[in-house]
């Protein structure tokens, strides 16, 4: 900011800047910023393709700071979280991270997130959207402290096959011993750095959590350490391709939070979203359990599936039909992309029973704009296993030194 211009107030400039903003701006070639959870973040730095290939072939930095973070502590922290989310949080031991979802009373998904068990009775919950209202109402009757710490923690995702190597060059000795979903505390230069082996790419990768004051120096050091290993910053567009390949859900794209839907019947349950593995009916009561139990007993009416679609034109927003004639609608596509790594045309879709079984085929009604002329394609779509891409390096500990 130039010295002469008076600082703009928040109503003139409502979006916050992350501690990495100046660095991001310096790397940005397209000036393509988008809002995310109240922050301005990079959509594309230079080219979506190059950024994407860096995720799968070298290493990438993604500014994760806008991720909303809550500190949850107190004598009832575990009981509280177990009543909040559908999985058994007792199984997330200190030093571990767990992916989780939480539902409203009707068993419909409010949001997903990750729970970091920092120590016994001390948790951090990371979500894509703000949830304080629901979290506080869930705290009625529990001896638990809740605090939003988003602005107190800067975060970077370092993802890609060479990410471990970059961290080691950065001086994080022992980082290679971190297993997936494990947390480690490291000294990176003069500053402490918390590292979790987590990410949204489905690849080998880490997430780095730090004091905002050290953000820029960490960024610089990582960029320097990654020199020969091809570290580059990426924006949300490239990440989106990777996360579809990995089969991860994105709020407001693959589901709308039950706290936000205006229309009846637009809410989705974890069972419908293919997250039944996250629902632990045996752990005791949690919000939505009774509804989910009933739903499980009678079977879901629709389910989120992975589709492999013929051709190479992404089936954005396509309606799905049981037959080529397009008379019997069975669902619609939520996320779609051409997968540059798998060389497959893939999509996540919500499909009605019984068409969601693996191996079912259906037809995707794809609209293509070719030089301003719209064309329509009926493309065969096959229900396949997710994730579409899950390399061995994602799980290997220690990872190979690329």
């Amino acid at each position: 900011m130039s010295a002469s211009a008076p600082p703009r107030t928040f109503f003139e400039q409502p979006l916050l800047k992350t501690p990495f903003h100046e660095r991001s701006r310096a790397f940005s070639q397209l000036d393509s910023f988008v809002p995310w959870a109240g922050y301005t973040t990079v959509d594309v730095f230079s080219s979506v393709e190059q950024e994407y290939f860096a995720i799968r072939n070298s290493a990438t930095l993604y500014d994760l700071t806008p991720m909303v973070k809550y500190r949850i502590s107190g004598p009832d922290a575990l009981r509280y979280l177990n009543r909040l989310v559908t999985r058994d949080v007792a199984k997330i031991r200190p030093g571990r991270v767990g992916y989780c979802v939480w539902c409203n009373d009707a068993g419909h998904l409010i949001d997903d997130g990750t729970i970091f068990c920092l120590a016994a009775g001390e948790y951090r919950l990371c979500t894509a959207e703000r949830q304080l209202d629901w979290l506080l109402d869930s705290a009625i009757g529990f001896d638990v402290q809740l605090e939003e710490v988003t602005e107190q923690i800067a975060a970077l995702a370092l993802q890609g096959p060479t990410s471990c190597a970059v961290l080691r060059r950065r001086g994080l000795s022992g980082v290679e011993k971190l297993r997936p979903f494990e947390i480690g505390q490291f000294q990176a230069g003069p500053q402490a750095l918390m590292v979790s082996r987590t990410g949204f790419t489905g690849d080998l990768g880490y997430e780095l959590w730090m004091d905002p004051a050290s953000a820029e120096s960490q960024w610089d050091a990582l960029m320097a350490a990654g020199g020969t290993r091809g570290v580059r910053p990426i924006g949300s567009r490239a990440l989106n391709i990777a996360r579809i390949e990995a089969g991860f859900l994105l709020p407001n794209v693959d589901f709308v939070s039950a706290e936000h839907t205006l229309r009846t019947g637009r809410d989705r349950s974890p069972l419908e979203l293919g997250l039944a593995w996250l629902v632990d009916f045996g752990k005791g009561h949690f919000t939505g359990r009774r509804s989910l139990w009933k739903e499980q007993q009678r079977g879901v009416a629709r389910q989120l599936v992975g589709l492999d679609i013929e051709g190479n034109k992404p089936a954005h927003h396509a309606l799905l039909y049981a037959e080529r004639a397009g008379d019997h609608e069975v669902g619609s596509v939520l996320s779609a992309t051409w997968s540059p790594t798998c060389k497959r045309n893939i999509a996540l879709a919500m499909v009605a029973a019984p068409h969601f079984r693996i191996g079912s085929t259906m037809w995707a009604d794809i609209y293509l704009n070719r030089e301003l002329v719209w064309e329509r394609r009926m493309a065969r779509a096959l229900v396949v296993e997710r994730p579409f891409f899950s390399p061995e390096r994602r799980r290997a500990t220690p990872p190979a030194d690329f």
Binding site: R83, D105, D137, I140, F142, R289
Partner: protein, 525 residues
């Protein structure tokens, strides 16, 4: 049975021996269930008790008249055989005034009304009684649920519609219009006498957080009239020995039917296993197992206290949390050296139900103060002197005055500790206006503010109805969606208190409906 559980197993445990808990237990026991009633206090009755507030002086602590309990319930449970006697029947209602002769309102006649109010009164009464009679059958059943598609729920809704349609088109229209109205407008439409308006409005606002101008007060009035209509010809009745005598009779009926009652047995929590209530744990640590647990406690205490939020969903807890439960009705008890004299009231009426509610405006002003945590220096009261009918409640020659004081806030600005005595003084001064010399007769005074009622009777918020009786907490949404029909989200746990449909007042409907509901569900299962 779990290892820790002791004693014999019960089919149903009822938490709280308030009148609804006793009624519920009696009906369950009569149907052959093995029932245990647990009461924290050393005596049964909950808030329907007769307590000594000064040596030798006893009084009905909360409600002091019996006029809402349906006749069929009293006869089904044969309360007369279990010792219920009345010291007085059909007490007249007398609207006190400093400016003129008091207005006497009772079921049969009206005195002191000028035309055209005199003739309008009969029509008004008949019309309101008709509406009340149309609503009364709703009291006798669990309200339907919406959107379930279940036959019973549809039938319930259609029955409701039919009940109203049967009034005929003009009356149905009128009911649909006034149903959500305020009593102020209704009375302005019918009458011009402020005294009459005030007295009639008093019944609408009694026990609520409303002023006469608050929409919804016609509903509360109709509810009262509906219950009164089914209570039969006895009118306003005074049980001999106070309301505690009613509770004793209910307890008698319950034990005669085979129910067990344990007093001084406070429940600490409801026991849950495999998403079912399977019993209770007492404060002593003793665990008692049962197939079903029924709570006569208020919904907040039952669900958030005894059960605990961890067994419930967040959205449901949010609803229970927001349940409006602050009471606005207090009780004043005076131990008097001699009989009070209400100067304008003829001797025969001194023992009536005396109202200090001279106008709509007066009540509205009273209500205004409470919105800001204050109370009016000109309070609204329902006064009786029970010892005129039942001298045994006080030492020979001495008397008890029992007054329901409408519009004392739960939270007083400055707190009730400091505010109690000044408030008692204000109330006695207000009585002095109508009963000159009463101040000199006062030997002891007890004021039960809503806060005291909360503490003494374990009713969170100290509300008569265990939760405001307003449209948004009424019928199909009472106490909260998810806990209607006397059941709760937790299998095996039921509610039978005033927090459930149709609300409080010593009626017994909630207890009876809950028992029937439990029996029906068990029969179905």
């Amino acid at each position: 049975m779990t290892a820790a559980a002791q004693g014999p197993g019960y089919e149903v445990v009822v938490i709280g021996a308030g009148h609804n808990g006793l009624v519920c237990a009696a009906y369950l026991a009569r149907a052959g269930r093995k029932v245990l009633v647990l009461e924290a206090a050393p005596t049964v009755g909950g808030a329907a008790v007769t307590q000594e507030f000064s040596p030798g002086f006893r009084v009905s602590s909360c409600a002091h008249l019996l006029h809402l309990m349906p006749e069929f319930l009293c006869s089904e449970l044969a309360l007369d055989k279990h010792g219920l006697e009345f010291a007085a029947n059909a007490l007249p209602t007398v609207a006190l005034s400093t400016e003129r002769e008091p207005l006497v309102l009772d079921a049969a006649a009206h005195e002191g009304l000028l035309e055209p109010d005199g003739s309008a009164y009969a029509g008004y009464r008949a019309r309101m009684a008709e509406f009340a009679a149309a609503l009364q059958p709703l009291f006798e059943r669990a309200p339907p649920r919406l959107g379930t598609g279940a036959y019973a729920d549809w039938a319930g809704l259609l029955r409701f519609g039919w009940q109203i349609r049967r009034l005929g088109r003009p009356r149905m229209r009128e009911l649909l219009r006034i149903g959500a109205m305020n009593v102020y407008d209704l009375l302005q439409e019918h009458f011009s006498d402020p005294g009459l308006q005030g007295a009639l409005a008093f019944d609408a606002v009694l026990g609520t957080n409303f002023g006469p101008r608050s929409p919804g007060t016609v509903l509360t009035l109709l509810c009262r009239l509906a219950a009164q209509g089914a209570a039969g010809v006895g009118g306003l009745r005074l049980p001999r020995g106070g309301l505690g005598a009613l509770s004793a009779a209910l307890a008698g009926a319950a034990t005669a039917a085979g129910a067990e009652i344990r007093t001084a047995a406070a429940v600490a929590r409801i026991l849950v296993k495999d998403d079912r209530a399977y019993g209770v744990q007492l404060r002593s640590g003793e665990q008692i197992r049962a197939d079903a647990v029924v709570s006569n406690a208020d919904p907040k205490s039952s669900l958030l206290g005894l059960l605990g939020a961890e067994h419930l969903d967040t959205g449901f807890v949010r609803r229970v949390h927001h349940l409006r439960t602050h009471g606005l009705t207090a009780k004043l008890h005076l131990a008097l050296r001699g009989p009070p004299r209400f100067s304008t009231v003829p001797g025969a009426l001194q023992g009536g139900r005396l109202l200090v509610a001279p106008s709509l405006h007066y009540l509205e002003r009273c209500f205004n103060s409470t919105k800001y945590g204050e109370y009016s220096a000109a309070p609204a009261m329902e006064i009786i002197v029970p010892t005129l009918h039942d001298p045994a409640l006080a030492p020979r020659g001495a008397h008890v005055l029992s007054a329901i004081v409408q519009y004392l806030p739960y939270q007083l600005r400055g707190g009730w500790d400091a505010g109690r005595q000044p408030c008692v003084d204000v109330l006695i001064a207000a009585l002095e206006v109508h009963a000159p010399g009463i101040t000199g007769l006062v030997q002891a005074a007890e004021l039960l503010t809503p806060l005291d009622i909360e503490q003494r009777f374990h009713i969170q918020g100290g509300h008569w109805h265990h939760g405001e009786l307003a449209f948004d907490q009424f019928y199909m949404v009472r106490p909260v969606p998810g806990a209607t029909q006397y059941s709760t989200p937790l299998a095996g746990l039921y509610l039978c208190g005033a927090g459930s449909h149709p609300g409080g007042g010593v009626m017994g409907y909630a207890g009876r409906n809950a028992a029937r509901r439990i029996l029906a569900l068990r029969a179905a299962a």
